[in-house]
């Protein structure tokens, strides 16, 4: 059942509309979903647009189990996902060409994302669906091979690709294109970019967080916000799982009425039929919770996406701290070099230095040495000035670009979560209606007793 695709389609629709005033209909992958009728948004108009999504229809169509040898030459079973792409213009012309497709496993998606994280540190990079099942309530299995989990992951991966492909900056990345089109050589190409070397070390980043002096306040506020977002979404997910557990229990116990009514009806004359039928409705009531909770998982998945998004947001803020810190360090370094130069040339000691002390104690060095030192310092100062210039540019560029994307993210988050909450309310209404229906049916039977 591809119910998640319905959600993905609406996300697609929104991503297609992002930043544009004119609404553009994105085609639905109707051949892959069970809900053909419901997704029916016909492709009327495709505009020239900056995002890949406009030019290409992307979907993660299937999942399959494979066996193979892993890195340490051990046998393992893993799941692969089929990515299908079709050119939009062909679809616009009414043709229906066969899609290009390739298989990817989760670890390759991870590799792509890591590449994007390093290459676009000023972008809030869309998250992947969770690696392992978390926040499960008891009926759901925490097994990665469980078909429901695999299905939800398939939807999550598709969502990831759609988000990336519709992002105004990420959409142009070549590696992304390769990922979608070149099955076998892609990994080599990624490694060749050398992105792994560019990654900031954890230690560096952490140290910067503690030692940076003047980070941009907006980014500090954003970082604080990302903590809040993470905390609330994870609390919500945990509480929701507990609620689901309890609700399951309530519904299932009602099934016992079904059995006892049936037994009781056997000893009754006029009351028998009514009791028996009522019992069946109680059974139906008890069974109805399964579908209800399955549907709610989609809500949980939406919350999870933003739980992980919070992490990505924090990463952008930390990158700012790092660039700012490096700028501060470079500036500091330049100042100290200039100071040294000044001291050396004027003889005025402003700050304590061992050289100064030894000079005092043992006499100053020879003029040639001094000249050499001054020369060196001047070179270093020149380098230092270059470094400060570079760092300043780096920092400012990061701030500028990052702020744009943070704003974009904020708007997206507000829209998405608002919609998720409305959908949640819709689900609750549906659950109430079902409950009323069941009990009304039972009531009718009771009245016939």
């Amino acid at each position: 059942m591809r119910r998640g695709s319905e959600e993905a389609t609406s996300v697609k629709r929104r991503m297609a509309e992002d930043g544009r005033d004119e609404s553009v209909a994105a085609d639905d992958d109707s051949q892959h979903t069970a809900e053909d009728g419901r997704n029916g948004i016909n492709n009327t108009m495709v505009e020239e647009s900056p995002t890949l999504l406009r030019r290409m229809e992307i979907c993660v169509a299937e999942a399959e189990k494979r066996s193979g040898k892993n890195a340490v030459n051990m046998q393992e079973t893993f799941t692969v996902y089929l990515i299908e792409t079709r050119p939009m213009d062909a679809l616009a012309e009414g043709r229906n060409p066969a899609p290009d497709s390739l298989w990817r496993r989760y670890s390759e998606f991870e590799l792509l994302r890591n590449y994007l994280l390093v290459s676009f540190p000023y972008i809030v990079v869309p998250p992947l669906p969770e690696k392992r099942a978390e926040f499960v309530w008891h009926k759901l299995s925490a097994d990665n091979m469980d078909p429901d989990f695999v299905e939800r992951r398939r939807v999550g991966l598709e969502n990831f690709l759609l988000r990336v492909a519709s992002h105004p900056v990420l959409t142009n990345d070549k590696i992304l294109h390769h990922f979608l089109t070149e099955e076998h050589s892609w990994k080599e190409v990624v490694y060749e970019t050398g992105f792994q070397a560019k990654a900031d070390s954890r230690l560096k980043a952490l140290s910067a967080t503690f030692r940076v002096r003047n980070p941009d306040k907006r980014f500090m506020d954003m970082k604080h916000y990302s903590d809040e977002l993470q905390s609330h979404t994870s609390q919500l997910l945990r509480a929701r799982a507990r609620v689901a557990d309890r609700l399951y229990g309530v519904y299932k116990v009602h099934g016992n009425y079904g059995r006892v009514f049936s037994e009781w009806s056997a000893i009754e004359r006029e009351m028998g039929d009514g009791l028996q039928s009522a019992g069946h409705h109680m059974d139906a009531y008890a069974a109805s919770i399964d579908d209800i909770l399955e549907e709610e998982e989609h809500y949980a998945d939406q919350l999870k996406e933003y739980l992980f998004y919070a992490e990505a947001l924090r990463a952008v803020c930390r990158k700012h701290e790092l660039t700012q810190f490096e700028l501060e360090m470079a500036t500091q370094d330049l100042i100290s070099k200039k100071q040294q130069h000044e001291e050396l040339s004027t003889g005025i000691v402003r700050t304590f230095s061992f050289k100064g002390m030894t000079n005092k104690l043992f006499g100053q060095e020879a003029p040639e040495q001094r000249e050499a030192r001054l020369k060196l310092l001047e070179e270093l100062i020149e380098e230092g000035e270059e470094a400060v210039k570079d760092k300043t540019v780096e920092c400012e560029e990061h701030v500028e670009k990052a702020w744009v994307d943070v704003q974009r993210f904020k708007e997206q988050k507000d829209k998405d979560l608002r919609e998720a909450l409305i959908n949640y309310a819709v689900m609750q209404v549906s659950m109430c209606k079902k409950g009323i229906q069941m009990w009304s049916n039972a009531k009718e039977c009771f009245l016939k007793m």
Partner: protein, 438 residues
């Protein structure tokens, strides 16, 4: 229906004159009497009645007839056709009494009747649970061949249930009202002198004492035994089996209902915390403030609805189940007594036959009396059993329908809250969209 002249104000025994209601007094008790103001007050055969004499028994009767007809749309099959009813009882108005020895609740028991067995057409007394219990014991003793309706449970765990809470008192009162109505509607029990005393005597305690003494001798008689039953008629066997199975099923239903209450209560706890998380999230958001607050609000509403559901089930559903379990026990006792009575007859008959064979003494009167007793017992029991079955059907129909209604109601409250949230949020959305494009 007898339309007689109102009785003269006689000294009706123990009551002082000031407490006797004047038969011409239009003192309408503020009970559930909802007299249809627009309805034509008339006799059931269509003859209009002069409304100028409100105390005439016919108009009195008609007013009361309307009163009871307006209750429950499921017709109480226990009631004979309404033309026959001439005794109406109601239990209401609970009041707490605090004395040095104890604290207890009394209820007002109001009676309206045209029966000759009663001195007055109306009575109003206060009774406590003890008094109802006394009445029931008296009825059981004096009418052993009949099925006596159950009382609500006597004992309540003091730690668990608040005996003086509004809901508990309300539930108990409704059960006492039902008990009394059932007795009043029974063609035999309603004429029992103990019922009469219960309904009319101001201070029951004195009578209780006297009554107890005089009744001791009688109850001892019923313990006569030692006879073994030969052949129980099939229908009474069936009754016994039915009661056993039914008892089992009621027990199961009780356990299920309790389990559901427990699960619902745990669900409620988690749900409250869940709502709290939404509320606390509001603090760090701007645009999402309204939807988050809205969801928190709906969750709170759902919690309230669920709490009400649980309370209602505790107070209305479970006690009725337990009443019926007590009822079954008392019926089984009656069946046992019937068996005993039959056994006694068979025993005596056998002895008499043997004696007759020996010395040709005629069939002693005692044996014939026993036979009569058994036959009366069987007839009474059969009639009461049928009545009980249809009453039980009505009661359980009401009970289960009530349970369904309460659940529906709970869902409806929740649904309304969520739907209004959706409307609110979607309106805001279209509002935003139009302001964007403007």
């Amino acid at each position: 229906m007898s339309v007689g002249a109102p009785r003269a104000l006689a000294s009706s025994g123990q009551k002082p004159i000031t407490e006797i209601l004047h038969p011409l007094s239009a003192a309408e008790e503020p009970l559930s009497v909802t007299v249809g103001g627009d309805k034509e007050v008339g006799l059931t055969n269509g003859t209009p009645v002069e409304t100028s004499s409100p105390a005439s028994t016919s108009s009195l009767f008609n007013r009361l007839q309307l009163d009871d007809d307006l209750e429950a749309d499921v017709r109480d099959p226990y009631a004979d056709s309404t033309e026959m009813r001439d005794l109406f009882v109601t239990v209401d108005d609970p009041k707490k009494h605090v004395s040095t020895m104890e604290t207890y609740i009394t209820y007002r028991v109001s009676t309206k009747t045209s029966r000759v067995e009663f001195d007055l057409p109306e009575y109003c007394v206060r009774r406590r649970y003890q008094d109802f219990d006394w009445l029931r014991i008296k009825l059981e003793d004096s009418q052993p061949t009949h099925l006596i309706p159950p009382l609500p449970e006597k004992f309540v765990m003091k730690g668990v249930v608040d005996r003086f809470s509004e809901e508990f008192v309300e539930t108990r009162m409704k059960a006492l009202d039902k008990f009394l109505k059932r007795v009043a509607d029974h063609p035999v029990l309603s004429f029992n002198p103990h019922l009469n005393a219960f309904l009319t005597v101001k201070d029951l305690n004195k009578r209780q004492g006297l009554a107890l003494l005089s009744k001791v001798g009688e109850s001892v008689k019923h313990v006569a035994g030692g006879y073994k039953l030969r052949a129980r008629p099939a229908e009474f066997c069936a009754m016994g089996e039915y009661l056993d199975t039914f008892n089992q099923k009621l027990g199961t239903i009780d356990r299920i209902a309790q389990r559901i209450l427990k699960e619902q209560s745990e669900y409620l706890t988690e749900l409250r915390e869940y709502g709290g998380v939404y509320s606390s999230w509001v603090g760090s958001e701007e645009e999402l403030r309204r939807p988050l607050e809205g969801v928190a609000g709906c969750v709170t509403t759902s919690c309230g609805a669920l709490e009400d559901l649980g309370d209602n089930m505790s107070l209305d559903f479970l006690p009725v189940l337990r009443e019926y379990v007590l009822y079954l026990e008392s019926i089984k006792n009656v069946l046992r007594k019937r068996d005993q009575s039959q056994a006694e007859y068979e025993g005596r008959l056998e002895a008499a036959i043997l004696r007759k064979q020996e010395d040709r003494t005629p069939m002693p009167l005692e044996v014939e009396k026993c036979q009569d007793k058994v036959e009366c017992f069987n007839a009474d029991l059969k009639a009461d059993w049928e009545r009980w079955q249809s009453n039980k059907r009505h009661d359980f129909k009401q009970l289960l329908t009530g349970m369904a209604d309460r659940n529906i109601n709970s869902y409806e409250k929740s649904q309304a809250a969520w739907e209004s949230l959706i409307t609110l949020l979607q309106d805001k959305q279209t509002e935003d969209k139009t302001s964007e494009t403007n």
